[in-house]
Assembly symmetry: C2
Homo-oligomer: 346 residues x 2
């Protein structure tokens, strides 16, 4: 699992078995998890979710004056039934409501045997007592993406990947922020701090007492671009042009690299990527940082490196770096408890 | 989780999240798990099961000449649907067939809110590709127990417990074995090793050439009693007279002790037991060994004992021992990777 921290909230990406245990060992507080994104329904990305929600519930400090906020969960069709049945049959009560917003995959996101039958996904049973109706989100063909939500700070979208079963990637895009006010210049214009500063900062023109029109672009420094984080689920390729368009200029692009380049055929057979394939995506997106994860168990962690040891994750890093030599993409190997600050580009 | 090893097979009791990880760290081989017993459907006893089955599958060395054996899973009604949905939606394929044999609880095994609705347990969907139809087992009123299976070596039964949701205990009872042949005596009778020895050992009389009838009891040493292992699920009490009757004389009785005696009211409110309550069960059954498990997280492991520290599991052991002072019941605290040999009483 991967956590994106935004203003104290934690957004969780995927949730394999044992996620709650690792979360407890981390600096993060389970009660802060407010959104969960599930890339695909394979067990190693999902089996930890019911237990995690129970743990989050134990760590919820519900303010008796306020109704606890709803935890929004995004993932492929089938996820709603998975949670309804696992939480329901185990009598798991949560101290907060949750809603599952399901993404409709398209038929070309997996081989035919990876598609769920209608019988399998039928979720016509009663809702879990803490479940709130979720949305079913279809592909927006014009942008080749799924709009998950948008608020004052960010817009979150999903995009299609090809894997053994339908898989998605997620793009969290912060809105651009206006540049700082050029306060020296404002003083020269005779403007004192007050509501007019706010209007300018909000991008609106004002008229001075002298009748002079002040356009925001005159008195604002350059716009501060919003940050963009993209997390890919398991995949052997992207689908359509949505993914690369959405992830263009990502500050951080998280991509799997299950097997080394020399096992490309096997990787693709199993719906997975090599470092070279991940690097190609990062290059096409002009990402700033490429974080590799989801290494096959055959690769030893970097801490146990020996010279000439090909089965070490450092070799995977080298393979990605080879492809990115002439670019400025930085390659990083994900590991448990790793912390990666994403700074504003001022 | 707890594993009973019998002739190289591993029988697993309950399966919380992380069981597969601990199993991998143990001396046990996942591929050897052939039977699973689930006491009740709470997540901390169940959420590890789908992942465990996937791991068992990865460790199955299927002989291509032979069909792999079926893994039999026993547990309360609802378990079949739980596995069908979790394995089905995640596209988990297993290299072996499995069957879920469901126990019908009675209405007095839990408060009303702990009972599953018919809607919840409806498992009318298609079977998982590796699922074989399982039995639905009802209470045998004459013995107040559930007959799970019987083979040449053992008979396995379940019994009813009271908890927040229906909970069961399991009793694995080895058949008695005939005593050793008194070979000296047989020689005196002029009998040489051969098929007649087998007949006597099997409890059948034989007639010597002289016409003398030899009854097995003449030439066999005392019967070797079969061993008995009883594992209780979470409970605040047993239900009916089946449990104590079944567990009478258990070599090992495994019972939960979630909270210390001083928290008895809270324990019972939550459907749990104290060391005193567990000890009373062991005493009533004349068990040889009482293994306590399922300690609240407030209790520190025995390794971190300090003088005067009441919140240590050793205090729970002391509380059970107090009740059993004048008995020969040995109290043992369960811990991960603990190995407890159960010897034949010769």
């Amino acid at each position: 699992a991967l956590v994106l921290r935004t203003d104290g909230d934690c957004w969780l990406f995927d949730c394999g078995e044992g996620t709650q245990t690792q979360l407890m060992k981390s600096q993060l507080r389970a009660g802060r998890i407010t959104k969960v994104f599930i890339s695909h329904l394979h067990g190693d990305h999902l089996f930890g979710l019911p237990g995690l929600l129970c743990t989050v519930s134990l760590n919820t400090n519900a303010d008796p004056q306020q109704n606890p906020a709803c935890v929004d969960i995004y993932g492929p069709v089938g996820l709603r039934k998975f949670l309804r049945v696992t939480l329901g049959l185990t009598g798991s009560q949560l101290l907060f409501p949750y809603a599952v917003h399901e993404l409709e995959p398209t038929l070309d996101q997996s081989p035919e045997e990876g598609q769920l039958s209608m019988e399998m996904i039928a979720d016509d049973g009663p809702l879990h007592p803490q479940e709130q109706p979720g949305r079913t989100i279809c592909l927006d063909v014009s942008t080749d993406s799924y709009l998950l939500f948008e608020n004052k700070k960010v817009v979150a979208k999903a995009f299609r990947l090809f894997h053994r079963i339908p898989s998605f990637g997620f793009c969290i895009q912060e809105h651009d922020r206006p540049g700082r006010l050029k306060t020296e210049l404002l003083k020269e214009l005779g403007l004192k701090p007050g509501p007019l500063y706010g209007r300018l900062k909000a991008g609106k023109s004002i008229i001075l007492e002298s009748g002079r029109l002040v356009h925001p672009s005159e008195v604002l420094e350059e716009t501060i671009p919003g940050r963009k984080v993209c997390v890919f689920g398991d995949c052997s390729s992207v689908l359509g042009d949505g993914p690369l368009r959405l992830c263009s200029g990502a500050d951080v692009l998280v991509h799997e690299a299950t097997l080394g380049n020399e096992h490309r055929e096997k990787a693709v057979d199993h719906g997975h990527s090599t470092p070279e394939m991940a690097a190609a995506v990062a290059r096409a997106c002009c990402a700033r940082k490429l974080v590799l994860y989801h290494f096959s168990q055959r690769y030893k962690p970097s801490s146990s490196q020996k010279d000439g040891d090909d089965d070490n994750v450092l070799e995977l890093k080298r393979q990605a770096e080879d492809v990115l030599q002439d670019s400025s993409v930085e390659v990083i190997l994900a590991e448990d408890f790793m912390n990666l600050p994403i700074l504003l580009r001022r």
